[in-house]
Subunit: 271 residues, 2 copies
Amino acid sequence: MFTIGEFSRITGLTIKTLRFYHERGLLTPAFIDPGSGYRHYDPRNLDTARVIKALRDLEFPLEDIATILAECGDDEDLIEHLARQRRDLAAKLTHYQNLTRQIDQLITQQREIREATAMHQQDHNVTERDVEPILIAGIRIKGRYSDCGKVFGQLAKKVGRHIGGKAMCLYYDGEYKEDDADIEPCFPIRKEVEAEGVSLRPLPPVRCVTLVHQGPYDTLGRSYATIMEYAKSKGYQLELPTREVYLKGPGMIFKGNPRKYLTEIQLPIKS
Amino acid sequence: MFTIGEFSRITGLTIKTLRFYHERGLLTPAFIDPGSGYRHYDPRNLDTARVIKALRDLEFPLEDIATILAECGDDEDLIEHLARQRRDLAAKLTHYQNLTRQIDQLITQQREIREATAMHQQDHNVTERDVEPILIAGIRIKGRYSDCGKVFGQLAKKVGRHIGGKAMCLYYDGEYKEDDADIEPCFPIRKEVEAEGVSLRPLPPVRCVTLVHQGPYDTLGRSYATIMEYAKSKGYQLELPTREVYLKGPGMIFKGNPRKYLTEIQLPIKS
DNA sequence: TGTACGGCCTCCCCTTGGTGGAGAGTCAAG
DNA sequence: CTTGACTCTCCACCAAGGGGAGGCCGTACA
C-alpha cells in the first residue's frame, strides 16, 4: 500500500491529478481511511495508472479512457478505439498543416511586398521599360472600380494556391468611366490551372511607360496626368489594355496606411 | 450603426462572441446606449472585427490579438507575430505527427499479434521445422528471468523504430538457473543499426524442435518437459542457445489475460 | 393603448484536464 | 508537546466561448 505521495512519485502522476482521477472514477484508491480520508493505493492501482498514463500520452480523452478501462482487458479490444483516436489525431494533423501553410503564404507575401517596396521606393518618376510576358488568371467585368475588391476575392478563392505575383488590373477603356468600366482584375500565376469563369492566358511582352504612384487610390488621377503628359511630350501612341500593378495595397490582415500604398501604372506603347 | 445582431450577421461572429470580445476589450462597440445598454457598432468596428477573425482563423490567442491590435497598423508589423505563431503551430504539427506515428505502430503491432495468434492457435503440439536466419539486436545479461522486462524496455528505447518482429529471448544455460541465468533478451530488427551496449548480429538458420506454449509464464516448465521428452525420444542432441519467442505476451497498454499468452519454445538440433 | 414577438441585456453555469492556493486535519520524529 | 512534512476538502482559474434563465426594449398590429 502506498500513500498518495509515494504513488505519485512511482507513477509520475501529480497528487492533484491522482485526486482528480479518483473524483472522475478513473482510478479509485484500493483503500481510503475512513477516519482521516487518506487515500491508499495498491499494486493493482499501479497497473491501471500505467494504462491511463499510456492512453493520456496518446491524448485519449478521459471519458474514452474510462470506457476503455471498463470494456477492455486486453490490447486486442483496444483496436477500434485506437483507430478512432488515430482519425481524430490525423484530423488535427491536417488542420495544423493547413494553418502552417496559410501562415507561410502570408509571410512569403509579406516578404515579397517588402522587397517590391524597397525596389520601387526610390523612383517615383516616369520611366520606360520592357515589361516581361506573364501568365495571368483574370475575370473581366463591366462595373465600377470599387467592384475589384470582390473580384480579387473570387480569384483568390479559385486560384489562390497558384498566385505568383502582385495583384493587377487591366483597363480596356481609353477613357475614365464611372459605372460600367471595362476592367479585368487578375493575378499572375505560376502554372496553367483550370478554374470556372476565370480567363487564363499569357500577357504578351510589351514596352511601357511606367510610373509608381505612392498614396491612396483616389489620388491616382494626378499620377495618370503626369504619365500621360510624359507620353504625349514624347509623341508615343498608347495601346490598350493599360495595367495597374498593386505593389503595395491593403494587406491581407490590416488595411495599412493608404499613404504608403504603391501602385505601378503601365501604359503600353504602340511600336 | 449596426445592432449587435446585424453586426453578427455581417461579420460572421456570434452575438455571444461579440459580447465576449467586448468584455475582453478586443472589440469595443462604437456606442452603447446608456439607457438600454444596447451595443451599437460602426464601420470602423467592422475593420477590427475582420482583423480579429482573420487572426483567430490562424488560431492566434486572443491575448496576442489584443497586442497586435494595439501595436500594429500594418501587415508589416505583423511579421514577427506571424513567425512566432508559425513556430507554435509547427510544434503542434510535429506533436500530432509523432502521436499518429505512435498509434500507427501500436495498431500494426496489434495486427501482427493477431495474425501470429491465428497462425499458431491450432498447433500446441511438438513440431520440427527449419527456422529462418534472422537479424537481431540483443543485450546479454546475467540475472533473473524477471529482469527481462527492463531489458526489453531499454532495447525498445534504443532500437524501437527498427523492430521487425516478436520479442525473443536466448538462453545460454543448459540447465535452469534462478539468480544468475545467462540470458539475452532481443528483438528482430529490419536493418543494421548502431546502438550502444546492444549486440547486433544475425542468428544462423537452424533446424528446431518447437512447441507453442499457451498460458502464463510460470507454467512454461510443463511445456519444456513435454518438448524435452519428445527430443529425447527421438534421440536428438540439442544446441545452445535455446530460444523463446513471445508470440503474444503482455500488451503495450494492457497486460491482457495471461492464460492467452502464447510462447514458442525453439530447441535447436545438432545436425 | 394593450399586447405579442423578436431582439437585446446581464448573470450564472458548463466544457477539458487539470493547476494553484487557503485553511484545516494527520502522522511520525525529536 | 511541538515541528515539519503530508494530506484532506473546497474554491477559483486557465481558453474561448456555448447554453439558458429571467428580464428589459422596441416596434408592429389590432
